[in-house]
């Protein structure tokens, strides 16, 4: 059943007055490390003004204690800025990060203390990787995310290596050849549909061993595929989606604007929709899409809508639908395009903002290509039906 919840305060509201008041000690402590005022302001904004309030509060508390300790110890050593530091990379969508050369934060991770304690070796490298990986991946503490962070760190070792994509480095193997194909499939079928297609074909041809190998090789690059492969190994098989919960939410509406694509869900939904309901598909995408190929699959029922004109689809009898890639503790993963249309000016212009979960769980590696938002950003959340295992899980 769809969940309807009263909306809590916006999760990404600006900093609370209490932290705003005490920025000065942190600003002072960062001066040695980040001499440029604009770099400092950027780093402080990322730490104190962005993300959920409890993250901001925790970061503030730790940094404030550290700043206090430094001040009592006579300030940060002046040589700190010159010490060896591992660059911290932004989490850009993978295909953009490959060619971008301005994807690092101004603040690096100094490794002198770790070098001193652990010396050279794998243990030290793993800790550096854990510290320089995405904060959320670290919080989950899962092994796959750690390995993903290792991959990210290896990329950061040199700009040349960073520019070379995982696809290029793995090009000799069959799975690596599948990576670019998965990109095109994800763009036009959706991440979940593409992943199930690849996992299914590999599973049928090579069994669980092949699926496990596919997960190992491509799972870090495509976390949704990692999730689907894991589900496959646990006995799950893709099922025909049931659009009835969405249909009941759309009753009496005139227009539906869909953000993102998941071909099986959208096919089933469009086929079941009343003919008088207009359906638009937002054309803004991270991955290249051949719209001449995508739209005819819906038999003329769906039209392409661009970012500049999508508000012409707004109205008291309009709904906005996006696909959700798992929900955990009130947080959901969605395609970045949803953030582009879900501004405060737009939220009240659609009767419903519906999220339809197509995974039923959160991918273990950090879900690149997707963004995490609070579930309360939606007016309706439709969870995925729980799966009944059809066979014993693979060892």
């Amino acid at each position: 059943m769809p969940h309807r919840k009263p909306r809590p305060p916006p999760p990404h509201a600006r900093t609370s007055p209490s932290t705003e008041r005490d920025r000065e000690p942190l600003e002072r402590a960062l001066r040695e490390v980040l001499p440029a005022p604009r770099d400092r302001a950027f780093v402080l904004r990322c730490i104190l003004d962005e993300g959920p309030p409890h993250h901001r509060g925790a970061s503030y508390a730790l940094l404030r204690v550290l700043a206090e300790a430094l001040e009592r110890a006579g300030g940060a050593p002046t040589s700190l800025a010159e010490r060896r530091a591992v660059p911290l990379r932004m989490r850009l969508p993978p295909h953009l990060g490959r060619t971008h050369d301005d994807d690092g934060y101004p603040l690096g991770l100094p490794t002198a203390a770790l070098d001193e304690i652990f010396g050279e070796g794998r243990a030290r490298d793993e800790l550096v990787e854990a510290l320089s990986a995405a904060p959320r991946a670290r919080q989950r503490g899962d092994d796959v995310a750690r390995r993903g962070a290792a991959l990210a760190h290896r990329r950061a070792r040199s700009r040349c290596e960073a520019a070379a994509s995982a696809r290029e480095r793995l090009v000799s193997s069959t799975q690596a050849r599948l990576a670019p194909a998965l990109e095109i499939a994800a763009g036009e079928l959706g991440f979940a549909a593409a992943s199930w297609l690849f996992v299914g074909e590999v599973g049928r041809a090579r069994g669980d061993e092949g699926v496990a190998a596919l997960r190992e090789e491509l799972g870090r690059e495509f976390p949704v595929l990692h999730y689907c492969a894991s589900r496959w190994l646990e006995g799950e098989r893709p099922e025909a989606p049931d659009p009835s919960p969405v249909l009941s939410e759309l009753e009496g509406l005139r227009r539906l604007l869909v953000v993102g694509i998941e071909a099986p869900e959208l096919d089933a939904l469009v086929a079941a929709l009343p003919s008088e309901l207009e359906v638009g598909l937002l054309s803004y995408r991270l991955l290249p899409v051949d719209w001449g190929r995508v739209l005819p699959n819906f038999g003329g029922r769906v039209e392409s809508v661009d970012l500049g004109t999508f508000q012409s689809w707004a109205g008291a009898r309009s709904a906005l639908l996006s696909f959700v890639y798992g929900e955990s503790a009130g947080r959901i993963h969605v395609v970045p395009a949803l953030l582009r249309v879900l501004g405060p000016d737009v939220r009240t212009q659609f009767r419903e903002i519906i999220g339809w979960d197509v995974l039923g769980g959160v991918p273990a590696p950090y879900p690149r290509w997707l963004v995490e938002i609070d579930r309360s950003e939606l007016s309706v959340f439709i969870p995925r039906r729980p799966h009944e295992p059809t066979r014993a899980p693979a060892p």
Partner: protein, 442 residues
């Protein structure tokens, strides 16, 4: 004489400039035409209206009509269905892709606008490449084969491509005569060149496993899952098109039904099958660029023809102290090379004037079909010689495929050149062989 020189210079400069600046080719040719009319009018060769009256409008009518017919078949989803079926038939193997898609492009281009077919078929090939992996050489020979097959298909029937349409529109050859002579010759060319291309593809293909083939086919089926023939449009459309083909082939001359008349009537009837769609296609899908480009060329050619330059060139050719057969061979080889530089439309428009003089001394069908084959050879020489080449280049490079070394896949001028040289040699030899064999047997 100075008038002839000035108008020839304008024609030549426009042709060179449009080849050098393909992004501005329409502007170059239309300005050249305007300049030609001005020079001709000032030189007393005739007014703009008299020169426009000499433009072969029937050819433009056929071109527009066949373009619209192709668009109707696109709406009936014929090309998408063909592309998916071709992918399945190829079994996603390197050799299968070259063989099946090459043959499909030949057949399609013989009846439809090859650019439309290429735009719809090439993305399927590129998706297959993306999954199964491809070497740069394999890609160049596979894509090159598709382009050469398009050119051969276009020359196979009188409605396949502009040079043949020009022969039909001008009344140089009847529909049936052209088909009887050109179809077998181009088919031989397809088989010979296809065998060479497939041999190279086979040797240069990456090692392929069953899983990438099965994934690529599953992916194609998923991407084109809605690709089903729209029978309610396709069946009456096919009936109309068949009626046009039959009328072109068998209608007695004394009925007075010109090729352009049949095309106009036929496409009008076909568009009327779906009035709303027909109106939309008429308003948005007519290939205005091609029409204006050819109009500009025809105007320049008309102006030069009025100075007698083409007759003089033909006179020089027939006065060469060599046998008539050798004169024809020289003409055909020069035609092929000129087409390689100037592309098919401009070359054919100018060379047909010379061919008409040669056809008064030699059997007409041999001269015209030989010319059509030579123009086909020239169109295959360089990537830039036919419009399909740059289109294939941009589609390939936009597809973001990587080659065997992990580098972005390119299909540029140099990649195509070996394919083009072999294709040119095969088809040019075919044209010369056809002409000599035809002369010997007549």
């Amino acid at each position: 004489m100075s008038l002839a020189l000035a108008l020839s210079a304008v024609l030549l400069a426009s042709l060179l400039l449009q080849a050098r600046l393909p992004g501005a080719r329409l502007l170059v040719v239309l300005l050249g035409a305007a300049l030609s009319i001005t020079i001709a009018t000032l030189g007393g060769l005739g007014s703009a209206s008299s020169m426009l009256a000499d433009v072969p409008w029937d050819v433009l009518v056929i071109l527009v009509a066949l373009g619209l017919m192709s668009e109707l078949f696109v709406e009936a989803r014929l090309f998408s269905v063909l592309a998916v079926r071709a992918a399945t038939a190829s079994r996603a193997t390197a050799l299968g892709i070259a063989l099946v898609f090459g043959s499909a492009m030949y057949l399609t281009s013989a009846l439809m606008n090859n650019l439309t077919a290429l735009v719809l078929v090439l993305p399927v090939v590129l998706v297959l490449f993306r999954v199964i992996g491809v070497t740069r050489r394999q890609a160049a020979w596979t894509m090159g084969f598709l382009l050469v097959a398009c050119n051969l298909g276009g020359a196979a029937t009188p409605i396949g491509d502009f040079p043949a349409i020009l022969l039909l529109g001008r009344g140089s050859m009847s529909f049936g005569d052209y088909l009887r002579h050109a179809l077998p010759a181009t088919f031989v060319g397809l088989v010979v060149f296809g065998a060479l291309a497939c041999a190279v593809v086979r040797r240069s293909a990456v090692h392929q496993d069953a899983i990438s083939a099965s994934i690529s086919l599953a992916l194609i089926r998923a991407l084109y899952r809605g690709a089903a023939l729209e029978r309610r449009l396709f069946i009456p459309l096919s009936v109309t098109f068949c009626a046009m083909l039959l009328t072109w082939s068998f209608a007695p001359r004394d009925w007075g039904l010109g090729a352009e008349h049949v095309a106009w009537l036929g496409v009008g009837a076909a568009l009327a099958l779906r009035p709303k769609l027909g109106e939309r296609l008429l308003r948005t899908r007519v290939d205005v660029e091609s029409v204006l480009f050819l109009l500009g060329l025809f105007v320049m050619v008309v102006a030069v023809r009025r100075t007698g330059v083409f007759s003089e060139a033909a006179r020089l050719l027939v006065s060469l102290p060599i046998p008539a057969e050798a004169q024809l061979v020289v003409f055909l080889v020069v035609s092929g090379l000129l087409t390689g530089v100037f592309s098919a439309g401009p070359s054919m428009a100018a060379l047909l004037e010379v061919a008409q003089v040669l056809a008064t001394r030699l059997p007409g069908q041999i001269v015209y079909v030989g010319l059509a084959l030579s123009v086909c050879a020239g169109s295959s020489l360089f990537l830039t010689a036919a419009t399909a080449g740059p289109l294939a280049q941009s589609l390939t490079e936009r597809a973001g495929i990587v080659d065997e070394r992990g580098a972005p896949l390119r299909f540029g001028f140099a990649d195509y050149l070996p394919v083009g040289l072999v294709g040119y040699a095969v088809i040019q030899l075919l044209a010369v062989g056809y002409a000599l064999w035809g002369l010997a047997s007549s």
